[in-house]
Symmetry: C2
Subunit: 494 residues, 2 copies
């Protein structure tokens, strides 16, 4: 049976994915400093081995034959998702991939150097090369999938996402936020005038913060028999579903940034730990995509982790570990802090979407050829001024040079961040509607019902549905900004 | 060029070795408890991938063609060693390997269960199956390499080692030790009567022991930019030459067992760190074999780490970390303790070789068909009585069931342990002859000259020579027991 040949192939590919995932986590947490060169060589050879096996010429024949075999519904779904992934892997000619990899690597290396020097002029030609190839790539992918070029790029990260569906939602959200951000800042100012912010600083040994993080992870549902927490410079969630590696970093003067980061990564980890085991080696058994993944991390970090009800339970836990007796009025100004800034990764949940929408609009223009790289600093500055009232015209390092995404060729990825925030709010709204006591549960430190809902509706579904289908099946509505808006108004409104 | 095809193949195989080595180390030190099943599946698939690529039918043609190409001397040496490894991988038919793997795994699993129950009768049939297949394997390997059957088994672990060379050395050593062990015990008794042993017990926090271990590792030459120390249940040296992972375990009531274990693994690690980088992906760039590897671990643990001159430097280091002010007379009775016992892994350097020689003699008889498994308990007991004056006739769990080697099919491996001890003493003797101030250097904590000698004569040689050639080139003499005997007499004699 051809299906069985594909099953055996998936086992081989999954073993290579297992190895590279653990090697990645190991590199960030355990590798000796001098081990990098040999590790990079091994990873590059393994990536080549994976690509050769995943695109072997016989696979097309196996797929065609398997599609005519007598299969269960699950097997048919597995095949469908396999074909989608395989098309994505095979639609670019090898010589194109080589050229693109070299161009991206050169641009990313240049970016690391020139961003620090705020040197847009030196960087621009390299980014032009990457964008030129991204346009070619978009055309090739569009052809293979029968999609519009930018949609074909998004398809890599969130299968089923289409600009025609997202643009109206983002447009409405943008109008709302341009108006709402000043209001939220105003509200915050009044609150702080009434009750000045108390600094949450002190001396918190790493080991105590680690114990606090582990206690919180376990409480919100992280299975410590199938994962662990360690330290790395850039926090991440990696590893494999049976052994999810999350990391954080500590500052001994304050605990919130590490704890919030740990909760964020725990959200990613819960998704991985909840994936369907029986299809673990097929694409069907993997997480749906970046937007849905981000919805799970933001669900834990923002919907749970910055919720006053959560903090009514969490403050005594913090006190047990750190010995600090803070009140809910002490903590909320910190976890609900809003601030206009130039940098996306430093943004709070109110201003963040404007950073993403700016990039979403610009990268569509770049791919469509309506915008050229040389005009990017001005276009960026115009939107930054319009959306957030800030200027970057003399500061490209904190404008179009601030993210690694474009230099490394990731175009079509940015929307996932804000889609994740919308989807998380949409999930929360359904849960709050169906479980009116959810705040009371959190105040008691009970997260089972929250997790059961997500396990049933999201995690266990793997890649069974496209992103929009999964959103609608889980929440009963297509993607929309209503619940996220309500969420912001309730938390940050006057 | 066929040589270049083989070079590319070696890069692929080395990437898989890199991955599986790091995954092995990760499994023992970092894996979540629930991650084992998926890890085992991934490792088994990667092992299959390695074997298929390492034995692909075209390799024989590439080898034959490459051997006729215009190559440098190094390239020719690399090819020669590649052919040896490749012959070892291809000389067993795949169906035989499958049958053997299943038989060994069943026997090893049974052994774990039945050893705890001291149930020889239940275990015997499984071991008979393993020995039967080992005889077949020996015949197949003998045929492929043109060697005697037992030599063909040893060839897997120590290329070039032949029973005809080893047996006379072991025979001489056995006669010496049967006489010497009682003398050493007598000497020890007299010393202890004159000065009773002071217990080195206390409360030594793990973190302080770890710092002590790292300080000792660094002092004797471990490059901490290319390796690390962590904790595992069974100490090991793993990883890759650019990132050597060694492990230990701690008891807070005493420090010597962990420290001595760390020095032992450091000896292995120095060999790996000192291998020639330019051939790292070829068999030529790997360590020579088990005996030579053990010679490096025993060199650091026994020749350096139990040397009074070493302790004159080390005691103040121990005091700095653990706060204990011991004298050289306090420490030596502990690091030079001799005791007759049934268990090989617990044996000291005086009695250990008798455990090995017993196994070496018995496993040759098993392979030759002069001894059957059913007669093993009696044969074991007879030798145990003759060599060490101990009986195991009612205690097979501590007799022929004590080691994992035979149940897992590793026959021909045991001699490596004692060959390692002889080679270490032989190396030490040359160094002591050529550097008369070596004790004074150690007393100052200077190990550079010791390491330079081993780097030049052993580590940098990789697999350029057979084991006996490497011994003779490094020390100017063929393998012999003279220096080891002198070493024991100097340290343990009256």
């Amino acid at each position: 049976m051809s299906f069985e040949k594909l099953d055996a192939l998936c086992r081989r590919l999954n073993a290579l994915e297992h190895a590279t995932s653990i090697l990645h986590a190991d590199e960030a947490t355990n590798m000796a400093v001098g081990g990098g060169e040999a590790r990079a060589e091994a990873m590059s050879v393994l990536a080549g081995m994976y690509h050769r096996q995943a695109t072997a010429p016989e696979i097309g024949d196996w797929l065609a034959a398997a599609e005519n075999e007598d299969l269960s519904e699950d097997q048919q779904t597995a095949l469908r998702e396999f074909r989608r992934v395989w098309t994505g892997l095979t639609c670019l000619p090898p010589e194109f991939v080589e050229r693109q990899t070299a161009t991206r690597m050169r641009c990313e290396q240049l970016w690391r150097d020139l961003r620090a020097k705020n040197d847009w002029a030196g960087f621009q030609p390299a980014l032009e090369g990457v964008v030129e190839l991204a346009r070619e790539e978009a055309a090739l992918r569009a052809d293979a999938f029968g999609l519009a070029p930018y949609d074909a790029l998004m398809e890599q990260y969130d299968p089923g996402n289409r600009a025609a569906d997202i643009t109206p939602v983002f447009a409405e959200l943008k109008v709302f936020l341009v108006d709402f951000v000043p209001k939220a800042l105003d509200t915050q100012e009044k609150r702080l005038a009434a009750r000045p912010k108390k600094p949450l600083s002190g001396n918190y040994p790493v080991e105590r913060q680690r114990e606090l993080g582990l206690a919180m992870m376990a409480a919100v549902g992280f299975d410590l028999t199938h994962g662990s927490l360690s330290v790395s410079h850039h926090p991440f969630c990696g590893g494999v579903p049976t052994d999810v590696r999350i990391t954080t970093r500590y500052r001994t003067s304050e605990f919130l940034s590490s704890l919030m980061g740990t909760l964020h990564e725990t959200g990613h980890a819960l998704y991985e730990q909840g994936l369907p085991r029986e299809w673990a080696h097929w694409p069907l058994g993997k997480a749906r995509g970046m937007a849905m993944h981000e919805s799970q991390s933001l669900f834990v970090e923002k919907q749970i982790g910055r919720n006053p009800a959560f903090w009514r339970w969490a403050l005594p836990v913090v006190e047990r570990h750190l010995g600090e007796d803070w009140s809910i009025e002490d903590i909320l100004p910190h976890v609900h802090h809003v601030e206009r800034g130039l940098i996306r990764v430093d943004a709070d949940e109110v201003t963040y979407p404007l950073h993403v929408i700016l990039r979403y609009e610009l990268e569509q223009d770049l791919i469509a050829g309506r915008l050229e790289v040389r005009d990017l600093p001005e276009a960026w500055n115009a939107k930054m001024t319009e959306y957030l009232g800030l200027s970057t015209i003399d500061d490209p390092a904190n404008g179009p040079m601030q993210d690694v995404h474009w230099p490394s060729g990731a175009i079509g990825y940015f929307p996932s961040y804000t889609l994740g925030a919308l989807i998380a709010a949409q999930q929360w709204a359904v849960i709050a509607r169906d479980m009116p006591d959810i705040d009371a549960q959190m105040e008691q430190g009970h997260f089972d019902a929250l997790n059961d809902w997500r396990r049933e509706h999201i995690w266990s579904q793997g890649s069974r549905w496209s992103t929009p289908e999964l959103i609608e099946r889980a929440t009963g509505e297509p993607l929309n900004a209503v619940h996220f808006r309500n969420h912001l108004e309730a938390r940050y409104g006057g």
